[in-house]
């Protein structure tokens, strides 16, 4: 990719940032909240994509990192009296270290075995959060002091989204990302051609664990209440996966498009069909899976609207 193309992409990103900074004040709190959660799902889909889109190790338990971040913020703010911003860094650190240990254990597994191991890890941590009442509040969860924080959290989520996009962009246009792709394509060949696959897979998992943790922390401070079933809800993982796959996994722009479009569709269908929105959403996804199995970006590449590959 030429310097001109990199510059063009950063101009587009900068324009989006300016719009997200200056447009929301004219909208209601609901619309601001809508944009904040849409950005959260951009972060989650891009993060899931780093491990699952690039290396092909499909995680069904990525919500665990989001939940760890939520609880780090909840515990450190409510029980230790920290300011909310440093709790985000603490959550990212805990999540990253947890991902490194978890990855060392489960990234030896492949395909459905890895997916199930990740699902098990998420469920295991959810159970710990439920039974360790002295630390987590158990099933009752943790309530935060009631404050007006919609602007703080909005701006924090915007900064996190920008950082996540920049990191995802770097992964998607670097030899690091190419090596992750090589692992997805043929792990034995990748090893034989100099890729320390264990190191790269764990690095990808750690990278993909940090941003959801920060997002979870911001979200918990935004809603001012956390409990295990919502912070480790499997539907969050499914959304990450669906949004990334709808846009085109293994690309940078795909998960962003997927999250923006599908989150908007979900929100609209929820308003129009409050009891049947998941059915409408599900039908939409079946349609996409049937007619665009490689997502929007794959659809665009097949028609010559986008170039093949990530590095040119």
């Amino acid at each position: 990719m030429s310097n001109w193309e990199h510059l063009r992409n950063f101009v587009v990103l900068a324009a989006a940032v300016v719009a997200l900074l200056f447009v929301p004040p004219i909208f209601s709190i609901y619309i601001r909240s809508f944009f904040m959660f849409m950005m959260l799902y951009v972060v989650l889909a891009l993060s899931w994509n780093i491990i699952s889109g690039y290396t092909g190790y499909v995680s069904f338990g990525h919500v665990v990192f989001y939940g760890i971040g939520s609880y780090a913020t909840g515990i450190l703010m409510v029980k230790a009296g920290w300011h909310w911003i440093p709790t985000l860094f603490a959550g990212a650190a805990v999540s990253g270290v947890f991902a490194a240990f978890l990855g060392y254990a489960v990234l030896r597994l492949k395909g459905p075995y890895f997916a199930i191991a990740m699902l098990g890890a998420a469920e295991g941590v959810r159970v710990i959060a439920t039974v360790w009442e002295s630390l987590t509040g158990g099933g009752d969860g943790i309530g935060f002091p009631n404050v007006e924080n919609s602007w703080e959290t909005y701006h924090a989520m915007l900064i996190l989204t920008i950082i996540t996009i920049i990191v995802a962009y770097w992964v998607g246009h670097s030899r690091f990302g190419i090596r992750l792709n090589a692992i997805r394509e043929d792990e034995i060949a990748a090893q034989s051609l100099g890729v320390n696959t264990t190191f790269y897979k764990i690095s990808a998992l750690v990278l993909s664990a940090i941003f959801p943790a920060v997002g979870g922390g911001i979200q918990s401070y935004k809603v001012l209440y956390i409990e295990p079933d919502s912070e480790f809800f499997i539907l969050v993982t499914i959304y990450m996966k669906l949004f990334a796959m709808f846009g085109g996994k293994g690309t940078v722009i795909g998960p962003i498009l997927g999250a923006v479009i599908l989150y908007s569709v979900q929100e609209i269908t929820w308003i129009k069909f409050p009891t049947a929105h998941l059915i409408a959403f599900g039908l939409f996804i079946i349609f996409v899976a049937r007619f665009m199995p490689r997502g929007l970006m794959g659809f665009a590449v097949d028609r010559g609207w986008a170039r093949k590959g990530m590095v040119h």
Partner: protein, 242 residues
């Protein structure tokens, strides 16, 4: 460029690999002359590809050693062996089908060199194997012969000293094969590389290899010059029986 006459590039000593009761490699020993093209032949199931996998760390040996530049590399992981200067291709091509030709090339670049250097090297090698026009095409969309060329070029990204080619002629048309063989001779004659070829095509082995090793039932049964191998009774018996 020194041709390394008389020097040993790689020494294999009493290498063994058993799969349950099957003795795939059973005490194999040989020494590869430096800067030469050598051939490894044998009937189907004789242990050639298993030997390749043992040399490159894809499989772990049960016992024995592989000495390369004075170091026993047996037991090292594949990427460690690759980083010591040994590269390989596979019997059935293992190019990355949903990555472009250029990405296939970059994937094998050393992280010790800058991205600019890696890109330059990739461009040179694509030119070397006449794949430049296909640089933006997915590997899976190439013909089988082109995939062989891509895999061959990819194996050269780090400028390895020892190149192991597993059946480079299989499924390749005559024109492409001639092209490939010219590249192999260029690497050996002009750049002093050591090359080991596993091949069933006896024309390739007899006309292009200076030394030949023959395996049967996991052991080396003969080694020598092409004309010596052609007249070796053990070899004739291994291929044609009594």
């Amino acid at each position: 460029m020194s041709n390394g006459a008389g020097e040993i590039a790689l020494s294999v000593r009493d290498l063994k690999k058993h799969f349950g009761g099957i003795k795939a490699v059973d005490g194999c020993s040989f020494e590869l002359p430096k800067g030469r093209i050598s051939g490894l032949i044998g009937p189907n199931g004789s242990g050639k590809t298993t030997t390749f996998n043992l040399l490159t760390g894809v499989l772990a040996a049960d016992s024995g050693s592989v000495i390369y530049n004075g170091e026993n590399i047996s037991g090292l992981r594949p990427y460690q062996i690759f980083n010591r200067g040994i590269s390989r291709t596979f019997q059935i091509t293992r190019i990355y089908r949903e990555m472009t030709v250029f990405e296939n090339m970059l994937s094998a670049s050393s992280m010790r060199v800058s991205e600019r250097e890696a890109r330059t090297r990739a461009e040179e090698l694509m030119e070397f194997v006449t794949l430049t026009k296909l640089r933006g095409e997915y590997g899976g969309n190439l013909s089988y012969g082109q995939q062989k060329l891509l895999e061959f070029a990819r194996a050269l990204m780090t400028d390895p000293d020892l190149i192991l080619l597993d059946e480079p002629a299989a499924g390749v048309n005559r024109t492409l094969l001639q092209n490939l063989l010219e590249h192999i001779h260029y690497l050996q004659e002009d750049l002093g590389k050591t090359i080991l070829i596993v091949e069933h095509d006896m024309n390739v082995i007899m006309n292009h290899c200076e030394k030949i090793f023959v395996m049967d039932y996991g052991v080396k049964i003969a080694e020598g010059l092409p004309e010596e191998i052609q007249n070796n009774e053990h070899v004739i018996e291994a291929y044609f029986g009594h």
